[in-house]
Symmetry: C2
Subunit: 352 residues, 2 copies
């Protein structure tokens, strides 16, 4: 067993170099010039540092400096997925990359997970997040209440994904869906589509409303038409939806939500509908690999970039260089043309 050696501290160096701890600190922090400490003394200090293999104690530095270089990552479920194909992985890759770059460490809050498997900010009544300098919140669709409370406590954090409601004023980084809709509608218009259907979720919260608003704006701008938007919950979708869309003369369909896309893919297949020959389809969401709609044209969230920017924005927030209502929209990748085709002249007959 190795000899018990306490890690050397500044006072050990000081003794060896024949100065005081203060002087060591001054030399090591580059304040030597300002305090007019001659080169000879500095050299003695540095020699002692080398000899004793001194490294600063982070806890002491943090305590004194007020920052600890820890950035929290709050998720409401485990970070390490059992299945290798995980939706959150790209975000986390980006988060880790940027943490490396900015020389901060990441704290994964596992202690906050309750027996129900859900991780809460205020677990056991306390806000464990506070042990980190700030936090990035990932995949928090709910818990508006906790978030508002967190913000009211002046805790610095950044969301990934657009927020609505009371938390809309909180800092976030999100994909730029307005630009995304241009990237979707322009190729459709170019392919000859003149009437485009829109299938949205029933829950019309800010992100959904904003997406639909962008749709209408771009449709108008491009001189296109569209029927009334359909707001249908995924579990209420059926073949009749397609009939209706085709009957009203739409030749392309935008789907707001990837769950709806998954179900429609199954329905289309069962009904013998050929996508995109009979109907061009673009999903305004990122479809998971396991979905049958996986190959459909879709908007891909720049997940990795979002992770990276979240960390950067958080650090800027901590430095006070940006306000705590800061929002940032990141460009999305253009959709593939997989399910964008030229429209048919006459509507197809589909089996029911």
């Amino acid at each position: 067993m190795a000899k018990r050696t306490r890690a050397p501290r500044q006072s050990d160096i000081a003794r060896l170099a024949g100065v005081t701890q203060s002087t060591v600190s001054l030399v090591l922090n580059g304040r030597a010039a300002a305090e007019s400490i001659p080169q000879a003394t500095q050299d003695r200090v540095h020699a002692a540092v080398k000899e004793l293999q001194y490294v600063p104690n982070v806890a002491a530095t943090s305590l004194r400096g007020g920052r600890n270089g820890l950035i929290g990552v709050h998720t409401f479920e485990p970070v390490f997925p059992v299945t290798s194909d995980d939706y959150y992985n790209p975000f986390l890759v980006g988060i880790e990359e940027q943490a490396v770059e900015l020389k901060v460490d990441l704290v994964l809050f596992a202690s906050t997970q309750g027996d129900d498997g859900i991780r809460r900010i205020y677990a056991n009544g306390a806000n464990r997040l506070r042990l980190a300098d700030g936090a990035v919140m990932l995949g928090m669709e709910q818990n508006e209440e906790e978030l508002v409370r967190l913000a009211s406590e002046q805790y610095p954090f950044v969301f990934i994904g657009r927020r609505d409601g009371a938390s809309a004023q909180l800092p976030y980084v999100a994909p730029d869906y307005h630009q995304a809709l241009a990237l979707v509608l322009e190729p459709l218009a170019e392919a000859g589509h003149r009437r485009i259907a829109y299938l949205g979720e029933t829950a019309r919260r800010n992100p959904q409303e904003a997406r639909h608003e962008s749709f209408r704006a771009h449709v108008a701008r491009l001189g296109l038409g569209s029927g009334d938007p359909l707001f249908i919950a995924p579990d209420e979708l059926n073949a009749e939806v397609f009939h209706g869309i085709l009957r009203e003369g739409s030749t392309a369909l935008l789907i707001e939500n990837h769950d709806s896309a998954t179900i429609l893919a199954a329905i289309a297949q069962a009904a013998g509908l050929d996508i995109p020959r009979d109907l061009s389809v673009v999903v305004l969401d990122t479809v998971p690999d396991v979905s049958p709609a996986h190959t459909w044209s879709q908007i891909r969230m720049p997940r990795r970039a979002l992770g990276r920017r979240a960390i950067s924005v958080l650090m800027e927030l901590l430095d006070g260089t940006i306000p705590n209502t800061y929002h940032e929209l990141l460009p999305v990748e253009p959709p593939s043309t997989a399910t964008i085709a030229s429209p048919h002249t006459s509507p197809p007959a589909i089996s029911t």
Copy 2:
């Protein structure tokens, strides 16, 4: 922009509860009973904690020598893989699971990564690990020096994977390869094999030597035979290896390293060797999904269990209930019989 309020500390609670900081500390650290502090006072303290949303300052706690509930995870490369099929993932899943169970949080050390992409313990002239109560070290094949130094500074940590050399005395959890070799050799003996070849790496460090030693012990115990072991680097393997093995009358082959297995799978295919008809093969290692040897019989490290145990062992180490030379061997899963067949009576002819 709202002013950032200073995080509450114990003295703030103390004031609110009408006691001193010392009392708050005693209550919060469960030493209240020992110091005979009545329930009423404890309740007042807890109420104040809740009201002010107090969370202990990690840096201060660490500095003083207390526990902060942070467990470090040190890896020498990023933990979030870009490719979905990641070797380290199961370890991390286990680590996170156990962290949830034991109510501790995880710190991923990203700040320690240098420009070369390698993460060091003593990076940038500081040992960031000290912020955590202890750490789990994953996949550290190198940096013997840093580890010995870390241990000599009495920092508590646990390895995953067997260690050799100077760090062999440090705490680790590892797969039980001795038992694993019994699980490999017994089915082979039962299938009728009498002479079994052994292909090892050229680098004979402790783990490799131990594996080979177990091989010899079990071969002797089961009354089997084997030729001289082959110690060949993966990139020097060729079809001649198979010729030699078959010529000396071996009917089964154990391969120490998964890289060698991958290359041998390619060579066998090219040479028209039918595995396992012509030669039974078992890999004494876990073969990655992308390898052509992926389907071969192999020893699977209980990676998730290793992750879990590593956290548990570390916590016990912190509690002082186990010595800091503690080793733990975990049972491996029995190999599949995919490439274990009955031996041929006469050696097959293979093309070169």
